[in-house]
Symmetry: C2
Amino acid sequence: MDSRNVRLAVIPGDGIGAEVVTEGLKVLEAVGTKVETTTYDLGASRYHRTGEVLPDVVLDELRGYDAILLGAVGDPSVPPGILERDLLLKLRFEFDHYVNLRPVKLFPGVATPLGGSRPEDIDMVVIREGTEGLYVGAGGVLRRGTPYEVATQESMNTAYGVERVVRYAFEKALGRPRKKLSLIHKTNVLTFAGDLWARTVDRVSLEYPDVATDYYHVDAASMFFVTQPERFDVIVTDNLFGDIITDLGAAVAGGIGLAASGNINPDRTAPSMFEPVHGSAPDIAGQGKADPTATILSVAMLLDHLGLTEEAARVEQAVAEDLVERQTGWASRTTHEIGDDITARVVG
Amino acid sequence: MDSRNVRLAVIPGDGIGAEVVTEGLKVLEAVGTKVETTTYDLGASRYHRTGEVLPDVVLDELRGYDAILLGAVGDPSVPPGILERDLLLKLRFEFDHYVNLRPVKLFPGVATPLGGSRPEDIDMVVIREGTEGLYVGAGGVLRRGTPYEVATQESMNTAYGVERVVRYAFEKALGRPRKKLSLIHKTNVLTFAGDLWARTVDRVSLEYPDVATDYYHVDAASMFFVTQPERFDVIVTDNLFGDIITDLGAAVAGGIGLAASGNINPDRTAPSMFEPVHGSAPDIAGQGKADPTATILSVAMLLDHLGLTEEAARVEQAVAEDLVERQTGWASRTTHEIGDDITARVVG
Ligand SMILES: CC(C)[C@H](C(=O)O)[C@@H](O)C(=O)O
Ligand SMILES: CC(C)[C@H](C(=O)O)[C@@H](O)C(=O)O
């Protein structure tokens, strides 16, 4: 980063999005980053007001920022899928967020539903492909609503798309103590796509002799997330399998309230976008009940992406300390109070 | 059933398959069913010997049985996917096993990795569609091995295929105390297929006013399997999502050593096939270490399918009693000993 301000686009979105983003920005400011934020009112209310989800002019404007912070999108008043596809997925595809980076890490002091697991057992990074697979939206429907209806979905996978995310994953694995990379797929059933993924990992692995690789079918991997999470260090997987196992990962690592993510364009041809893994949770919106921790950890990922590694580490450390404290009295703090407490630790 | 013998085709398969099937048959005999078994040597060794996986004449012969009991297929000496696709999946498709029935039930006395869950929290039945979706094998590859490779997989879903399994699921839900049916899919991304599934559940639900329905995205459902399994009673889902969540279900319900399944053709136009959810586990094959319980519970499902409900209940009861006993000394019993102990309880 040069010394100019970070230009950040903020999309609070729907439901609890605005509340958690407020706390994320509070922490971002406290860390001392010079940041200039512009808020975009994308989401359900704009959709209802204007019928638009993400107009092209807004998309073009967003392209000019250094990064995007997103709260959550989705509201029961909007037909399911519209905001997800035309806003969230559109940004991922248009900005070529081919790395969806999702750490699965059990912080000390955090309760996991897995009775026998300790923090050292659950410490992985899932690298989910973000621009291909079943998420491309290909497919169709024939004779809709009749007894003869046929509906298809097509998963599209390219050497170009798979290789770049696999390379990113090897680099990530190389930088971690265990240096282990697991491919998760379903090669015995998805033979065409699975073969491309497996061959790509094999080929690129020749360039990374220090990284150990292995392979799990997605069904077996899901089982091991619960029974032996210590098997995993860095995981690379396709868009849909990554969607499923990262929610599962969030569950075993203390819940969706703590799971952060980055939709990353490593080539920096467009801004990367950081967001909590959780959704808009309309049932608890506006009540100060949402946990802003996932957003604050997403801010740490954002700082890291901008090269502000020291700042990123300070935010993560502040969260880690707060999580240890939480073992008593956690339920009684509001969204703001959690944000304030973490902010105070960042300031030091 | 008329009073003639049950004609059962047995496919022990690979790895631990033969060992667990031996115990399953022991229990089947002990329960007093008049059963005539014929063993088929399908699997890795036949493949190596003859190059064949499932010759058409064998397929036709199998069609004549009342049911099939399968141990496990798959061996490291055979290229991945061959036995799975040309044997296991071929049988499911050829014999129209459109219901893949997989109970996820925590028996009293069994340890679950979920620290806080009790048997009453984990008691569901997953009904996985078995003849459509991404399992049809559609797709292709272009420019294989070049930087321009494209690999596709197509999920095919029909009103015919979805409706029949959804109807089965409603009937199943109606017969259970909670009368609750959850659809698991990913309607916000797989819009064509998801729409067909969701509309079908909505439409059929009008005929089942006593069954409550709800919907979960597969990612959220995976999380809830771990954090709140008590949400689920009967689940209906597509082939791939069912594959993933039933392995996850096996993990939370005490492990893959206990998970039974039935590949069912409810119209009885071909034999149904019963098999443990686990694989061939070549690493422990031939050592008497495999747990035959999943196979024995699959035998209970087989009995139930044949209308021998009292016999099925006796087998399940024997397993339940054995599982309570296991809390001490479990690890020390061999495959045979477990089979013998359960058999002794069946005999009474
Ligand atoms: C909202 C939905 C489209 C999205 C996805 O499936 O990617 C979400 O589940 C996620 O994981 O970010
Ligand atoms: C072996 C494999 C093809 C199979 C499947 O994916 O259905 C297995 O995982 C299962 O669940 O029975």
